[in-house]
C-alpha cells in the first residue's frame, strides 16, 4: 500500500459531448473533492477533482467543457485541445483521456472519440447512459466496438455507478500510447508539412480544421495564412469530404458492425410524436396551449398559498407595529424589512409552480422539441441552434444564459446572442408582471395567464427582431452549423425535479434575505430622511421622493409618477423584482389615511391621482409599465456579466442603451394606444 500511495497522482482528462452524462460521472468519481474555477485568461470553467484509485493511488481528474468536436473554434474546444495535448501550464499533461460517449447517440459521440484518437493520446472510452440505450432497443457489442475503434470501450451508467469497477481497473492498467489515426492522403502529407512550420506542436485536428476553415479563422498563426491557402488549394474541392466525410464513413462502418437497433414500432411512434411536436403549425399550437395551461395553473394554484403568505406577513407587520415600542427601529422593521422582503417572498409559490411545470416539461423531453421550433426563426435572424441553450437559460435568469453563450464558436454570433439574451423573460420579471396584472387586469386566471403569455412572447419576438438587426448590420458573419440531439421521452424523475425545485427555492429565499433585504433597508432610510415637519409630505420630501421627482418629467409621457420613478431607479441599480419590494416599502411609508395593512395590489388599486381624483394605476399605466419591463435592462448582475463575457464595457453599455431606448418607445406607444394621456 505504501508503494502504491507513493506513486505520483494519475492525471485523467474527462471529455465528452454535452448531455453525455460526463459531469455525473465526474461528480460520482470525485464526490465533494472538486474545485471549480476558470482557466486563466478565458471564461471557460475549469473543474478539477481528486479521488483514490482501487490501489490507493491518488488520481486528479480534469472535467473538460462539454464539446461536440475538437475543431478548435470555440474557447471551450480550444481549451480542450490544449489540455489533451499537455500544452497548458496550469494542467498536467493527462496520463489518460477518458472519452464519455452518449450510448443513445453513439454516432455523434464517436466523432469526438475519432478526433481524440487522431491526437495519439492514451484513450479509454465509456459508453454512458447505457441502460437507457438498452431500454430503447440499442444493443452495443462492446468487444467489436473496442476492436473497431482501437480503444477499450466500457459500458457505464454514471447515475448508478454501474461499470465503475471496470473503469477503475482500466484506469490503472498499463496503457499503450496509441499511434494517431492518420488522416487520408493527401491531407495527411499536407498536415505533416504544415506541422513543421506551425509553432506549438499542433494536433492533426487543429491543422485539418485550419485547412477546412481557411486562413481567416480564429487562432491561426498569421505567418501561416499563405501556406494554409496554398495547401488547401493543392488538395482541391474534396478537402472537406476527405477530412470530415472520411470520419463519418468510418464511424458509420463501426456502428454497422457494433450497434444493433430493435423495436422499430416503438421508434416509429416516437418519430411520429417528434414530427407533431416540431411541426411549425401543430408544434407551435401545442406549445402555446401548454404555456397557457402552465400560466393558468400557476395563477390558479398559487392564489391560496400566496394569500396565506400575504396574510402571515401582514399579521407579522401589524404585530411588529403594535406590540413593539414606537420608534424608528420599529418603523424600519415594519415598513422596510417586513414590507420589502415580504412583498417578494409572497411570490414564492408562483416561482415554485413555474419551475415545477418547466422542470416536468424539460425532464419529459418535451421542452427540447418545443425549443427545436425556434430553429427556423433563429436561422432566419442569423443565429444558430447553439443559441437555444443560452436563450432558454435566460428564461430562468439572464446571467447563466449569457454565460452559456460560451458554446458559440463565432465571436460575432456569440455577441449577438449575448446582446439579445436579456430580452427573454427571466423569473425576476414574474413578480413585477404578477403585481401589475393583479392590479390592472381584472378578470379570471385564464385572462391573466393570456396577458402573461403575451408578455413572454413579446420578449421572445423582440429578442429575435434585435438579433436580426444586429446580424444584418454590425455583427454580420457566417452562421455556424449545429446538430441538435433530442433527448428520449421519459417520465419526469421526482428526484431530479425535486432537487431542482429545492435549489431554486433556496436561491430565491437567499436573494430575498440578502439583496432585497439590503435594498429595502436602504430605501426605507431614503424615504424617511430628511425628516419633514409634515408627516403627510414625508415621502415626497425625502431623498428618494426628490430623486423620484427629478426623473418624473422624463417618465411622465409614459404615464408614470414620481413614486414609480423611485421603483424604476431602485430596479435600475439592483434588479427587476426590487420594483415590487420598493413599491411595498414606499406605500407602507406613505400609507397616509389608507389601510396600512392592505396588500400591495389593493393599495395600488386604491391610490388616487391627485390631479384627476381618479385611480392612479389605470390599465394604460399598468400595461405601459409591463411593456417597459419587457425591454428595459434593469439588472446590474446581467450588465456586469455581459461586460465580462464580451470582454468590453462598451458592449454592455450599448446593450443598456438600446434596451432602454426600446423600453421607452414601446412603453410610450403602449400607453398612448391603450388610451392613456
Amino acid at each position: 500500500m505504501t508503494t502504491a500511495t507513493a506513486a505520483p497522482p494519475l492525471t485523467i482528462a474527462l471529455i465528452g459531448n454535452p448531455n453525455s452524462g460526463k459531469s455525473t460521472l465526474f461528480n460520482r468519481l470525485t464526490g465533494l473533492r472538486q474545485r471549480v474555477g476558470n482557466y486563466p485568461g478565458v471564461t471557460v470553467e475549469r473543474r478539477v477533482g481528486r479521488f483514490a484509485l482501487a490501489s490507493g493511488r491518488d488520481a486528479t481528474i480534469v472535467d473538460l467543457p462539454g464539446v461536440r468536436s475538437l475543431a478548435p473554434r470555440s474557447p471551450d474546444e480550444r481549451i480542450a485541445v490544449d489540455v489533451l495535448l499537455g500544452r497548458r501550464a496550469d494542467v498536467a499533461a493527462p496520463d489518460v483521456v477518458v472519452v464519455v460517449l452518449n450510448a443513445l447517440h453513439l454516432e455523434v459521440s464517436l466523432y469526438l472519440l475519432q478526433q481524440v484518437r487522431e491526437l495519439g493520446v492514451p484513450v479509454l472510452a465509456c459508453a454512458n447512459v447505457a441502460d437507457e440505450a438498452e431500454r430503447k432497443g440499442i444493443r452495443i457489442d462492446y468487444e467489436s466496438l473496442s476492436g473497431a475503434m482501437g480503444v477499450p470501450v466500457l459500458r457505464t451508467v454514471a447515475t448508478r455507478g454501474e461499470g465503475f469497477d471496470e473503469l477503475m481497473r482500466h484506469l490503472e492498467a498499463p496503457r499503450k500510447r496509441f499511434p494517431p489515426t492518420p488522416l487520408p492522403e493527401p491531407v495527411h502529407s499536407a498536415c505533416e508539412r504544415l506541422r513543421r512550420e506551425w509553432p506549438g506542436n499542433p494536433g492533426d485536428v487543429e491543422i485539418a480544421d485550419a485547412l477546412i476553415e481557411g486562413p481567416d479563422a480564429d487562432g491561426i498563426p498569421a505567418s501561416l495564412a499563405a501556406r494554409i491557402s496554398e495547401e488547401s488549394d493543392k488538395i482541391g474541392p474534396d478537402l472537406r469530404d476527405l477530412i470530415v466525410g472520411s470520419r463519418h464513413r468510418r464511424i458509420a462502418a463501426v456502428c454497422a458492425l457494433a450497434v444493433k437497433r430493435e423495436t422499430r414500432e416503438a421508434r416509429g411512434s416516437i418519430r411520429l410524436m417528434d414530427r407533431v411536436f416540431t411541426n411549425p403549425v401543430s408544434g407551435t399550437a401545442i406549445f402555446l396551449a401548454v404555456m397557457l395551461l402552465i400560466f393558468w395553473g400557476m395563477f390558479s394554484a398559487s392564489a391560496i398559498p400566496m394569500n396565506a403568505i400575504e396574510s402571515g406577513i401582514e399579521s407579522l407587520k401589524h404585530w411588529t407595529a403594535v406590540r413593539l415600542p414606537q420608534g424608528m427601529f420599529t418603523d424600519l422593521l415594519a415598513d422596510g424589512v417586513i414590507a420589502g422582503v415580504g412583498a417578494v417572498v409572497v411570490f414564492l409559490p408562483q416561482i415554485i409552480l413555474l419551475f415545477l411545470f418547466l422542470g416536468i416539461l424539460e425532464d419529459s423531453g418535451y421542452l427540447s422539441r418545443a425549443v427545436l421550433l425556434l430553429d427556423k426563426p433563429l436561422s432566419l435572424v442569423g443565429l444558430s441552434g447553439r443559441g437555444f441553450v443560452p436563450l432558454l437559460g435566460s428564461m430562468a435568469c439572464a446571467v447563466p444564459g449569457v454565460m452559456a453563450t460560451r458554446v458559440i464558436p463565432d465571436a460575432r454570433e456569440r455577441l449577438a446572442t449575448i446582446l439579445v439574451a436579456p430580452l427573454m423573460t427571466c423569473s425576476a420579471r414574474l413578480p413585477v408582471y404578477t403585481v401589475l396584472i393583479g392590479t390592472v387586469i381584472v378578470g379570471s386566471a385564464a385572462t391573466q395567464a393570456f396577458v402573461l403569455l403575451g408578455l413572454y412572447m413579446l420578449g421572445l419576438a423582440s429578442a429575435l427582431a434585435v438579433a436580426l438587426v444586429l446580424r444584418r448590420t454590425t455583427l454580420r458573419s457566417r452562421r455556424t452549423d449545429f446538430v441538435v440531439e433530442l433527448p428520449p421521452y421519459r417520465w419526469p424523475s421526482l428526484r431530479t425535479t425535486g432537487m431542482q425545485l429545492w435549489q431554486r427555492t433556496k436561491m430565491f429565499l437567499k436573494r430575498a434575505g440578502t439583496v432585497i433585504l439590503g435594498i429595502s433597508i436602504l430605501l426605507w432610510f431614503l424615504t424617511n430622511f430628511p425628516k419633514s415637519p409634515e408627516p403627510a409630505h414625508q415621502l415626497e420630501r425625502s431623498v428618494a421622493g426628490r430623486a423620484g421627482k427629478l426623473v418624473e418629467p422624463a417618465i411622465r409621457p409614459l404615464g408614470y409618477d414620481w413614486k414609480i420613478g423611485i421603483g424604476l431607479l431602485t430596479s435600475f441599480f439592483s434588479a427587476r423584482e426590487v420594483f415590487v419590494s420598493s413599491m411595498s416599502t414606499i406605500y407602507s411609508v406613505d400609507a397616509g389615511e389608507g389601510d396600512p395593512e392592505a396588500s400591495l395590489a389593493r393599495r395600488l388599486r386604491e391610490e388616487r391621482d391627485p390631479g384627476t381624483g381618479g385611480p392612479r394605476w389605470t390599465r394604460p399605466v399598468g400595461l405601459s409599465l409591463m411593456v417597459f419591463y419587457v425591454f428595459a435592462m434593469l439588472c446590474s448582475s446581467t450588465v456586469v456579466t455581459v461586460a465580462r463575457e464580451s470582454a468590453s464595457w462598451r458592449w454592455a453599455l450599448v446593450q443598456v442603451g438600446f434596451m432602454s431606448a426600446l423600453a421607452y418607445v414601446a412603453a410610450f406607444v403602449t400607453y398612448r394606444v391603450a388610451g392613456g394621456g
Binding site: 454535452p18 459531469s23 436561491m507 439590503g518 436602504l522 448582475s637 456579466t641
Partner: protein
C-alpha cells in the same frame, strides 16, 4: 437621539457598507450569486 433611532441608523449604515462591498465584489466576479437560477447552467 433615542435608542431606536440610533439602532435604526446603525442598521442602515451597516447595510449600506455591505451593499457597497457586495457591489464591488460583483464587479470583479459577477455571477449574481443571488440569482435564482445559477444552477441552470448545464455544462455536462
Amino acid at each position: 437621539m433615542d435608542v431606536q433611532t440610533t439602532a435604526a441608523l446603525a442598521v442602515v449604515a451597516i447595510t449600506a457598507c455591505w451593499l457597497a462591498v457586495r457591489a464591488f465584489r460583483g464587479l470583479r466576479r459577477p455571477g449574481c450569486g443571488a440569482c435564482a437560477c445559477a444552477p441552470a447552467v448545464k455544462r455536462d
